[in-house]
C-alpha cells in the first residue's frame, strides 16, 4: 500500500526564555496510508498540534524528516486542507467567499468546485451569510468546506470540534464520517475526545505526554457506521482511555 505521509524520527524543541531546550516531540515515526483516517489522541499540551503543523509545513522539525506524497511538505506545491482548532474563518468574507479562498490563492477558482463543496457539507442557502450570522456547528462546516474545496491531498484537522456542544459534536461526527466515505481523503485528526477517535478512525495513535512519542497504535476494525454503544466500540474506547490514564493518572 502507498504511503501518503511519512514521519521519520521527528523531534521538535522550542527554546524557553531561560535558554533551555524544551522538547515537545521526540523521535516520532509513523506512516499514513492513502485514504486512511488516522487519529492522534494524547494528553493535552503533548505536542499534537505541533506535529500536525509540521505535517502541514507550517513549522519545520528540529530533526527528522516528514514527507507528504514523497516530498517535504510545501504548501505551495502540495494541496493541504487544514481545519484549525480556533475560529479561523475570515469574518469579512461570506460563506461562499470563505470557501473559495484556497482556490482563489491557487488561481484555480471555479464556481462549480465551491458549489459542490457547499452541497457536500450541507450549506446550501447560506452562501451569502457572514460567519457571525452562523451557529458554531455551521461555522465548522464552512471551515471543513474551505479545507476540502481545494481537493487536498491530505486533510488535517486540529481538534476541530472541541468548542462545540455535545449534540452538535455528535452531528459533526456523523457528517465527517459520511464526507470521508464519499471522498476517501487521507485524514489526520487530532483530538482529545476518545469516542470521536474510535468513531471515526481506521487507526488511533496514542501519544505520550510531553515530549510526545507514539505510545501505541490501535487499529479500529469495526464496521461503519459505528455504534457508540457496541461492546467492541466500548472495548476500544476503554483501551485507549486506559493508555491515556497511564500518561495522566488524573483522568
Amino acid at each position: 500500500m502507498r504511503y501518503k505521509v511519512e514521519v521519520e524520527n521527528v523531534s521538535k524543541f522550542f527554546v524557553n526564555p531561560n535558554g533551555e531546550k524544551l522538547y515537545v516531540l521526540k523521535n516520532i515515526s509513523f506512516k499514513v496510508y492513502d485514504g486512511e483516517f488516522l487519529c492522534f489522541v494524547g494528553p493535552s499540551g503533548c505536542g499534537k498540534t505541533t506535529l500536525l503543523r509540521i505535517i502541514a509545513g507550517l513549522e519545520t522539525p528540529s530533526s527528522g524528516k516528514v514527507t507528504v506524497e514523497g516530498s517535504p511538505p510545501n504548501p505551495s506545491r502540495i494541496r493541504i486542507g487544514f481545519v484549525f482548532q480556533e475560529e479561523a474563518l475570515f469574518p469579512w468574507r461570506n460563506v461562499w467567499n470563505n470557501i473559495k479562498f484556497g482556490l482563489e490563492v491557487r488561481g484555480a477558482y471555479e464556481a462549480k468546485m465551491v458549489k459542490d463543496t457547499i452541497r457536500l457539507v450541507g450549506l446550501e442557502g447560506f452562501e451569502n451569510y457572514y460567519p457571525h450570522q452562523l451557529s458554531g456547528g455551521m461555522r465548522k462546516r464552512v471551515a471543513i468546506a474551505r479545507a476540502l474545496a481545494v481537493n487536498p491531498s491530505i486533510l488535517l484537522m486540529d481538534e476541530p470540534f472541541g468548542d462545540l456542544d455535545a449534540q452538535t459534536r455528535w452531528i459533526m461526527h456523523k457528517e465527517l464520517f459520511s464526507i470521508h466515505e464519499k471522498l476517501k481523503k487521507t485524514t489526520i485528526l487530532v483530538t482529545h475526545n476518545v469516542e470521536e477517535a474510535v468513531y471515526l478512525a481506521d487507526r488511533v495513535l496514542v501519544l505520550t505526554k510531553r515530549p510526545a512519542t507514539v505510545k501505541k497504535e490501535v487499529f479500529i476494525r469495526l464496521e461503519r457506521p459505528r455504534n457508540k454503544l457496541n461492546s467492541q466500540f466500548i472495548k476500544h474506547r476503554e483501551e485507549i482511555i486506559g493508555l491515556l490514564r497511564e500518561e495522566v493518572p488524573e483522568i
Binding site: L58, R77, A88, F90, F101, V105, R106
Partner: protein, 261 residues
C-alpha cells in the same frame, strides 16, 4: 422595527433641541442687542445675501465652499496615500515603528497651526494648504492603519499559508482586509481633523476664496453675522462628510457585528 422607531425618536429629539437652541440664541441676541452679537435671523439674512450676491468681492458662496472642500479633499488624499502604506509597513515591521517613534510621536503633538510660520517661510501657494491639512489628516490614518494591521489574527495568516499563499497575497487578502475597518475609521477621523484645519490653512494660502478665508475676512470687517455663516457652514459640511463616511463604513463592513453610528 425597534431600531427604526428609535432613529425616528432621536431625529425628533434633535429637531426639538435645535429649535430650542435657535430660540434661546434669538432671545439672547435681543437681550444683548449688540451689532457684534447677531441672532439666528441676522445670520440667515447674511447667509441669503452671501448666497445670492456673493461676498464683497463678488465671489459666490458656492465657490468658497468648493474651494475649501477641494483643498481639504486633496490634502486628505495625500494623507491617505502616505498614511496607509506607511502604516502597513510600520504595522507589519514593529522595528520600523519602534525606530522612528521618537520622531513620529512628538511630531504628532505639534498642532498644525504651529506650522504656519514655517509654511509661510518654506512654501508658497497650494503647497501651504496641502501641508497644513495633511498634518491634520495624516496621523489618524497612519495610527489607525498600524493598529488595524496589528490586530490581524495569526490563525488567519496560517490559513492562508496552508493554501500556499505568498507574502503579497497574505498582506493584501488577510492583513489589509482585516485592517480595513480600522483604516476607514482613521480616514474618517483624519478627514474631520483635516477639515478643522481649513481655517488655519486658508490664513496663509493666499487665495481669496474658501470658507476659512471668508471667516477671517468678515472678522476683520467686524461683520459677525457673515462670519458666523462661514462657521456654521464649516460645521455642517464637516458633519455631512462624517455622516457620509459612517454610511459607507456601515455598508462596507456589514460583516462586523456592530458598527458605531
Amino acid at each position: 422595527m425597534k431600531f427604526k422607531r428609535e432613529t425616528y425618536k432621536s431625529t425628533l429629539n434633535n429637531f426639538a433641541s435645535l429649535v430650542c437652541f435657535i430660540l434661546l440664541w434669538e432671545l439672547l441676541s435681543i437681550v444683548v442687542s449688540s451689532p457684534f452679537f447677531p441672532g439666528p435671523l441676522d445670520v440667515i439674512k447674511a447667509f441669503l445675501v452671501l448666497l445670492v450676491e456673493g461676498d464683497i468681492e463678488g465671489i459666490s458662496l458656492l465657490s468658497h465652499i468648493t474651494a475649501s472642500v477641494s483643498r481639504v479633499l486633496l490634502g486628505f488624499s495625500l494623507a491617505v496615500v502616505t498614511g496607509i502604506p506607511l502604516g502597513l509597513v510600520m504595522g507589519l515591521r514593529r522595528t520600523v515603528y519602534g525606530s522612528v517613534k521618537s520622531i513620529l510621536e512628538p511630531l504628532r503633538f505639534i498642532p498644525p497651526i504651529a506650522w504656519i510660520p514655517l509654511a509661510i517661510i518654506l512654501l508658497t501657494g497650494y503647497a501651504r494648504y496641502m501641508l497644513i491639512i495633511w498634518l491634520g489628516a495624516f496621523f489618524p490614518v497612519l495610527l489607525n492603519t498600524i493598529t488595524g494591521v496589528q490586530t490581524t489574527n495569526p490563525v488567519l495568516v496560517d490559513v492562508a499559508k496552508v493554501f500556499g499563499a505568498d507574502k503579497k497575497t497574505i498582506i493584501m487578502k488577510i492583513v489589509f482586509s482585516n485592517a480595513l475597518p480600522e483604516i476607514f475609521a482613521g480616514m474618517r477621523i483624519g478627514l474631520g481633523v483635516g477639515w478643522m484645519c481649513i481655517v488655519a490653512a486658508e490664513m496663509i494660502g493666499g487665495e481669496m476664496a474658501g470658507l476659512g478665508w471668508l471667516i477671517l475676512k468678515y472678522g476683520e470687517l467686524l461683520d459677525v453675522a457673515s462670519m458666523v455663516v462661514g462657521m456654521v457652514l464649516i460645521g455642517v459640511i464637516g458633519l455631512l462628510m462624517n455622516e457620509a463616511f459612517l454610511r459607507a463604513e456601515k455598508n462596507l463592513f456589514r460583516w462586523r457585528k456592530e458598527v458605531t453610528l
